[in-house]
């Protein structure tokens, strides 16, 4: 308490520039006068009385300094002085300063750039409330070597009623043609269970999302649209809720608009930019069978306080009891299991290693540039030997010299960091083009305050670590030799050159490691991207139309092929064809053994009207 009070008074004195010198002068004069009178009364001669009084008071200058230090904050005061001096030194050798700052800008800029990617992907992978509760579920049949076989309707209901999850949902991403708006557009959409948006835990900005407990069969004709689609296709119409739009000629009713910040969860950037969610329930046309599995993504939100590991244990118990209950549907040789993975892990799992490796590589770049600057500082140290010697001779303490030199190097490093950050900030759009689109959460990479803080911390830390050794060695000198030899060949120089050699050797070693790492990175990023694409194009045709193929013979396209097996790569290589990747998959009946899950276009046969 007392310490704090003292600190704040000193701080305010320091910032306001209040000084107490005048007061001390007066007090000391009065003190001397009183003591002299006393001495005179004791019978000393006037001169001797004054002399004795002064002796008793002590060294006036030292007292004045102590008093001054108590009045303000000497550390801060010295720091400001050092800083001013450092700026002057910077200005006096612009070449040196520019090189050092540019080197550090490179190191800090590269590290910060990768950090911003890591910040968006690894540190904040899911922009939803309580992201640790979100999990993805995968059913496997390891006994017959099948993975990701999907869940059947009864299994889905079992999971929902198990008490392990708040909500269980499924989703299927695809693309659609929207008509009924100002202009027909082709968008990425998703067919989801009504509980899907409740699982993600995001509410609509306008209108409402689906009722998570809606169990009506088939599509209920409700869609929720994204903020982007609302603005683009509907001119941000405030009365959009309740209006209808057409998806590939089927009519749907808009019930809500999602907030602008909402992004769908997915591994690909296309699916993350989903702009429309259509609610869908299970068909009631055929009795649900356990063995009939639907190939959808299943994501769920765990009960609060339940860890994924604990949930997996409970789920295993559920699976075991189901197997006992329905031995005909789960033959022991298939070894049916359901596996839970945290959603965040499934989204970033495949890039984590590459990103960390990349981060390590730019860390090495930072290290090399720091070592370079430290080397420059050391080289300059010998030129400043005489300056240091003079300061030392005039009474500067060694710690004081180290502090001053450290301030200078810190200033260099921090200026470098700021430059690096500024360049990164200005070039962020340009740099983002180079990031592969497969990176999750590509759109959320931003140069934020957190990234700025990271850049500053990195530069201060590097400045302290790599400024300390040169400062220590520069301030370590043999006074007489240095002064006599006019600043040349001081005894510290051998030690300094030894350190310089060590730094150069270290730098070379680091460069070698960096080169190997960069080579490995290049290999892992670039292999698989071989081969060139002769011609690619994509077309989106409503479902009914593509069944009658001949109508789409266009003379400029030599051959039109619709390939039903899902192709992951964006374009076919080798022979001219029309790409039919994910958008066709949307139309492809997505069930394993023939049972139709009622997606949007099957609504008329399985919907509520029936």
């Amino acid at each position: 308490m007392r310490f704090l009070r003292r600190f704040f008074i000193r701080l305010s004195n320091f910032t306001a520039g209040r000084r107490a010198d005048q007061r001390l002068q007066e007090e000391m004069a009065e003190h001397l006068a009183l003591q002299t009178e006393e001495n005179l009364r004791a019978g000393l001669s006037p001169a001797e009385a004054r002399r004795q009084a002064a002796l008793k008071l002590g060294a006036a200058q030292a007292i004045r300094e102590q008093h001054h230090a108590e009045q303000g904050l000497p550390l801060a005061e010295n720091f400001l002085l050092d800083l001013r001096y450092a700026f002057r030194m910077l200005y006096r050798s612009p070449g040196f300063s520019l090189i050092a700052i540019a080197t550090m800008a490179l190191g800090v800029g590269a590290t910060t750039a990768i950090y911003s990617v890591i910040d968006a992907t690894l540190l904040h992978p899911l922009p939803y409330p309580n992201p640790s509760q979100l999990v993805r579920m995968e059913a496997n049949l390891p006994g017959v070597g099948a993975h990701g076989v999907g869940l059947s309707i009864p299994e889905f209901r079992d999971l929902q009623n198990s008490g392990i999850f708040q909500y269980v949902s499924f989703c299927f991403h695809g693309s659609e043609n929207v008509t009924g708006s100002a202009q027909p557009t082709h968008i990425f959409g998703a067919t989801v269970s009504p509980s899907y948006l409740a699982v993600l835990g995001v509410d609509a900005a306008l209108g409402r999302t689906f009722d998570p407990h809606d169990a009506s069969p088939g599509s209920n004709g409700e869609v929720v649209i994204s903020d982007g689609l609302w603005k683009r296709a509907f001119g941000a119409d405030p009365h959009i809720v309740g209006k209808s739009l057409r998806l590939d000629n089927d009519s749907f009713q808009v019930v809500g608009v999602m907030p602008a910040s909402f992004r769908d969860q997915s591994q690909t950037s296309e699916e993350r930019n989903t702009e429309l969610w259509a609610a869908d329930g299970f068909s009631d046309r055929t009795p649900p069978m356990r063995g009939t599995r639907l190939q959808y993504e299943t994501i769920a939100r765990l009960q609060p306080g339940l860890s994924p590991e604990a949930a997996q244990v409970r789920l295993d118990a559920l699976v075991a009891s189901l197997k006992k209950q329905y031995p005909a549907d789960y033959p022991p040789q298939s070894a049916w299991t359901i596996h839970i993975t945290p959603l965040a892990e499934t989204l970033v799992g495949n890039v984590r290693q590459s990103l960390l490796l990349l981060f390590g590589a730019v860390g090495l770049v930072l290290l090399i540039s720091s070592v370079n600057v430290a080397n420059l500082l050391l080289a300059r140290a010998s030129a400043r030997g005489r300056e240091m010697a003079v300061r030392y001779a005039l009474g500067a303490a060694r710690m004081r010299l180290v502090r001053q030199l450290l301030t200078e190097s810190l200033l260099l490093f921090v200026l470098g960091g700021i430059t690096g950050f500024t360049v990164l900030f200005c070039a962020r759009r340009f740099l983002l083009q180079f990031i592969p689109e497969s990176l999750p959460r590509l759109n959320d990479i931003s140069i934020s305050w957190g990234v700025l803080a990271f850049a500053m911390v990195v530069s201060v830390a590097a400045g302290t670590i790599f400024g300390l050794a040169p400062a220590w060695l520069t301030s370590r000198l043999d006074l007489t030799t240095t002064l006599r030899q006019e600043g040349r060949g001081s005894s510290g120089s051998r030690r300094r050159s030894r350190l310089r050699h060590a730094l150069v050797i270290g730098e070379l070693a680091l460069s070698l490691v960096l080169m190997v790492a960069a080579g490995l990175l290049l290999r892992s990023f670039c292999c698989g991207a071989s081969g060139t694409c002769s011609r690619c194009s994509s077309a989106s045709i409503p479902h009914e139309s593509w069944q009658s193929r001949p109508r789409f013979r266009i003379p400029t396209i030599q051959k039109l092929t619709f390939t039903t097996p899902l192709r992951r790569n964006r374009c076919f290589c080798g022979k001219p064809s029309v790409e039919s990747g994910r958008c066709r998959a949307w139309k492809k009946p997505p069930s394993v053994n023939g049972r139709l899950f009622p997606s949007a276009m099957a609504r008329r046969t399985s919907g509520r009207g029936h």
């Binding site: 007392r2 310490f3 009070r5 003292r6 008074i9 000193r10 107490a20 007061r23 001390l24 007066e26 007090e27 000391m28 009065e30 003190h31 006068a33 009183l34 003591q35 009178e37 006393e38 008793k56 008071l57 002590g58 060294a59 006036a60 030292a62 007292i63 102590q66 008093h67 230090a69 108590e70 009045q71």
Partner: protein, 115 residues
């Protein structure tokens, strides 16, 4: 000649506070004089070091100061103990007595006293 012991950091502050407690408001010279008298010239005190200490105590809120007239009617800075300072003095005096008592007991104990 034996050297006079230096004043320990902290003890000087205690002496200043006690002096102000006993004598009431005093100027720097008065405090220095009093410490010298009480300690009987055993302590070597550079009287000037009092002034930074007084400023520190003032910053800590234990004492306050204001200008006044000295015995020979010149301007002098007078220091006065505050309520906080009095509490601090009591607490520190208690601690000091305790420490002194413990040390004293250590010196009194002889080998044959031990069980």
């Amino acid at each position: 000649m034996k050297e006079k012991p230096d004043v320990l950091q902290g003890t000087l502050a205690l002496m200043v506070l006690k002096t102000l407690d006993v004598l009431g408001p005093q100027h720097g010279y008065g405090i220095a004089r009093r410490i010298e008298q009480i300690s009987g010239d055993i302590l070597a005190l550079n009287q000037g070091t009092l002034y930074p200490l007084l400023l520190k105590l003032e910053h800590e809120g234990s004492i306050v100061s204001q200008w006044g007239a000295s015995e020979n009617n010149r301007r002098a800075r007078f220091y006065r103990l505050t309520a906080t300072g009095r509490k601090q003095l009591q607490a520190e005096a208690r601690d000091w007595k305790q420490t002194a008592a413990i040390i004293a007991r250590f010196f009194e104990v002889k080998a044959e006293d031990l069980p």
